[in-house]
């Protein structure tokens, strides 16, 4: 029988930056308390890659996130959108104010705890960056902490569980975008590119996806039954290496981007006012002349 795949999807709650949801104070600073938390939009792409792997090979997908207890809702969102089987929240006061380094240490401890208590991991999926921090560092740092290979900018993915290898297409951006095909052994980190498109060209895959959706609907209704929360003791983490104390990065200040001064002046003109329209024509005349010259040249 063909082997199955156990995957973890790393996700993060971020402020909902969508129009109407986000709230800024007078100085342009984000008002965190007034802005709802949602799943990082890029993570949805990572989740789609995890779902594609799950549909094709069977197995198990778990969601994992570090954050305050309220992040359970973010993981519920992950379950609803891409059908994770269960979710793990790494949550502890000691973890507050972690930078990417401390977060990576914590997440790697989460993955190790998962391996010890739940099962061996084949793949870890993560989005390419979060909408709030925009560092793109946490995934690679966590892979480094686990000493597992990492494949980034993945736009297409094939997994061979029996050979314990994956083959991925990477989008390499440059003067000319190129697609690079790489292979890596499992376990492996996969950072998906926003261009990633899952592909379901087999009827059986679509039927499986449909079945998973139906099963998930029931599961998500009792999300708490499928959520495990681990604190720093569960994770066997020394408080000195995590949270604010374990974070070498200091964000000294956050400045709002100053608004560019408007360089144009607008004048309102009533189109039914003939005199005003004459003025408009007068204004446009020099430009119209230019166009006419141009046209003559083209005509030659």
């Amino acid at each position: 029988m063909e082997g199955t795949v156990r995957s973890i999807v790393l996700t993060k709650g971020v402020p909902d930056f969508s129009e109407g949801a986000v709230s800024f104070d007078e100085d342009g600073h984000l008002e965190r308390g007034k802005t709802p938390t949602v799943m990082n939009p890029n993570d949805e792409v990572a989740l789609r890659a995890a779902l594609q792997t799950r549909v094709r090979h069977g197995g198990h997908v778990s969601g994992m996130s570090m954050g305050p207890p309220g992040y359970g809702d973010v993981l519920r969102e992950a379950m609803e959108s891409v059908y994770t089987d269960d979710n793990y929240l790494l949550s502890d006061r000691e973890l507050a104010a972690s930078d990417t380094w401390a977060t990576a240490i914590t997440l790697s401890a989460g993955l190790e705890t998962y391996q010890a208590e739940v099962g061996d991991i084949d793949l870890v999926f993560a989005g390419f960056k979060t909408a709030d921090g925009e560092t793109g560092q946490t995934g690679p740092q966590t892979a480094w902490a686990m000493d597992w290979p990492i494949v980034t900018h993945v736009v297409a993915l094939e997994v061979d569980p029996d050979e314990r290898r994956l083959r991925a297409k990477r989008l390499v951006e440059g003067d000319v975008d190129e697609i690079e095909t790489v292979e890596a052994p499992l376990p492996c980190f996969v950072i998906t590119d926003p261009e990633f498109e899952p592909s379901y060209r087999q009827a059986s895959h679509r039927l499986t996806r449909k079945r998973l959706r139906e099963e998930t609907r029931e599961r998500a209704a009792d999300h708490d039954d499928h959520l495990t929360t681990w604190n720093h003791e569960d994770l066997n983490l020394d408080p000195d290496y995590i949270g604010l104390d374990g974070s070498p990065t200091i964000v000294s200040s956050v400045d709002p981007i100053p608004k560019a001064p408007s360089e144009r002046e607008a004048t309102m003109v009533d189109p039914t006012d003939a005199d005003a329209m004459d003025d408009v024509l007068e204004e446009l005349r020099p430009h119209a002349a230019g166009t006419s010259d141009h046209a003559t040249e083209a005509g030659d």
Binding site: R201, Q202, A203, S204, R206, L207, K210, R211
Partner: protein, 560 residues
């Protein structure tokens, strides 16, 4: 099979199309334990389907839809229709007959339905049943042709999936079946083999319906209309009461529409604004949805041997649509055919001959009497005489004369006419000529009718508004119809016959344009498939390369 087709996914049975024919086939296959995959191109079953809106359960039929799907009438249909009237119209003069005897002939029950609600309900039941035997229903998948291996049909090809092989392929892909055409079993050649139906679903709450139509309890009513209100085009109108809406529409012979150069939406409007309907529609007409479909005339196109190799055709795809005079029965025959095809496959399971199931299915269509309903032998005999133009002309001259009016106008004729309308035997022989549709009803109304002394306040939406109210997911840059010949001679009829195009309207699918070239003006036809409602009319009346849009693309009916 060769190595190539061997590598494809295989299901015991693939059913193409999630309408009543496909649903019946799939349900029956699953009940027999057959691994069955159902492929539906709409986002949901019913989103591509339109009917006038009555489904019959016939006493003589081997299968009815409530046999196969428990709870169908309670959960999927609108309301029973037990009262049936036909109105003969001449100007403002109307003579009405009760048609309930004909309606009830061989009828166990009859319900008004709206297809989105009905077919999506069926889809859920079918998915439950087929999931249990290793298959299921997939939506948003368009099957675009047959997969062949060494000339033999072995499966289907799709836009969205890799090819799939199967031991049985059920083409329940509707009136414009691409599979039936791929197999060479059906064509789109002759306008006189088809009707075109156009329908408006009209918003009206239950209380108002019951009040205006004088209904009590569950039972609803059907009204049919014929006579001179359709510019001499052969066909008629209908009105059915639903739970909280009305289905009002027209059905015309396509050749007659083309000949009379009529605009289908204008004919629908002629019905909607007739004073007869004012009593029901009054001044608060709100249209929920405008829709159209082709209707095969089974008397002419039903395929006597609807199979080829592993492929069987059911329902509209096989032309199984019976026009029994004014009563049109299609969905019930699709259900029978789907179930019989499934049973035939199971009976021949393991047979070395891939065509054994198809042959048995065709036999059972005959033996069950279904074929004779679809193509009565009586009609065959009468047609040769009745549809000869010289005969029609002679009959028309007599009817138009004082003598004809006298003959039909006397009280005994009134009694005899009502009997004739209600006779399934006579109705099945009625030739498809002007006489039955237009002349006779007009004279009946003139001689026996009552004059309506009121007008209509109904103001139907324009074609532009109707198109604007429909939901589309346009496949930008990938039109599903190509116009092969732009000349007015080859494709000009589509400008009028297309239900979302008109001579005077530039926003439809088909437009006439005058092009000046080297000093001479020439009229050419252009096509924009964006407003297309996928009825298939232009495949017959114009020179096109016609395909369905990709899965999930194109128009999405909410009512159907």
């Amino acid at each position: 099979m060769t190595d190539e087709t061997d590598a494809y996914e295989h299901y015991e049975a693939v059913v193409v199309g999630g309408g009543p024919g496909g649903a019946a086939a799939a349900a029956r296959l699953a009940e027999h334990g057959v691994e069955t995959l159902v492929l539906e191109r709409g986002t949901e079953a019913g989103s591509k389907n339109v009917s006038g809106g009555l489904i019959y359960a016939e006493e003589s039929a081997p299968y009815t839809i409530d046999d196969l799907f428990e709870g169908f009438r309670e959960e999927a249909s609108e309301r029973p229709v037990t009262d049936y009237h036909i109105h003969n119209v001449a100007g403002d003069s109307v003579k009405s007959y009760e048609l309930t005897d004909l309606h009830e002939h061989d009828t166990d029950w009859c319900d008004a339905v709206l297809r989105r609600r009905m077919d999506s309900w069926l889809q859920r039941r079918v998915h439950e049943k087929t999931s249990e035997t290793g298959g299921g229903v997939l939506t948003g998948v368009r099957v675009n042709g047959l997969l062949r291996d060494g000339g033999e049909i072995v499966g289907v090809t799709c836009d969205e999936l890799e090819p799939i092989t199967a031991d049985l392929i059920v083409a329940a892909d509707g009136v414009n079946s691409e599979l039936a055409r791929d197999a060479g079993l059906m064509d789109w050649e002759e306008p006189d083999e088809w009707f075109q139906g156009v329908k408006a679903v009209v918003d009206m709450d239950r209380e108002t319906i019951d009040d205006r139509f004088g209904l009590e309890g569950e039972d609803g009513v059907a009204h049919l209309f014929s006579g001179d209100l359709f510019e001499g085009v052969r066909g008629g109108g209908f009105l059915y009461t639903n739970a909280d809406s009305l289905s009002i529409g027209t059905v015309f012979h396509l050749d007659s529409l083309v000949e009379e150069r009529a605009e289908p939406h204008e004919l629908l409007d002629a019905l909607l604004t007739h004073p007869l309907l004012a009593q029901w529609l009054r001044d608060d007409y709100v249209e929920r949805e405008y829709a159209a479909k082709l209707v095969p005339d089974s008397k002419k196109v039903v395929h006597p041997e609807p199979y080829r190799g592993r492929l069987v055709l059911v329902g509209d795809a096989a032309g199984q649509m019976q026009a029994q005079g004014p009563i049109i029965k299609g969905m019930n025959h699709a259900v029978t055919a789907g179930a019989l095809a499934a049973d035939a496959f199971v009976a021949e399971r393991g047979s070395a001959d891939p065509e054994a199931a198809g042959r048995r299915y065709a036999n059972w269509l005959e033996e069950s009497g279904t074929m004779d309903k679809l193509r009565p032998r009586r009609y065959e005999a009468v047609r040769a005489v009745g549809e000869d133009d010289r005969v029609t002309d002679a009959v028309e001259r007599v009817l138009d004369s004082r003598l004809g009016s006298l003959a039909i106008g006397n009280p005994i004729a009134d009694w005899a006419l009502k009997r004739a309308y209600n006779s399934p035997f006579l109705i099945s022989m009625l030739p498809d000529t002007r006489t039955g549709y237009v002349t006779l009803p007009t004279i009946v109304a003139e001689e026996h009718g009552r004059t309506l002394h009121w007008g209509s306040e109904v103001d139907p939406p324009s074609l532009e508004e109707r198109i604007g109210d429909l939901t589309y997911d346009t496949d930008v840059g990938n039109p599903h119809i190509e116009l092969r010949d732009q000349s007015a001679d080859s494709s000009g009829d589509a400008v009028r016959a297309c239900p979302v195009s008109a001579e005077s309207f530039g926003g439809g699918c088909y437009r006439s344009e005058e092009i000046k070239r080297n000093g001479t003006a020439e009229t050419v036809v252009s096509l924009d498939t964006q407003p297309c409602i996928e009825c298939g009319t232009c495949a017959i009346v114009a020179d096109t390369e016609w395909e369905h849009p990709r899965g999930g693309k194109g128009v999405e009916y909410r009512e159907g």
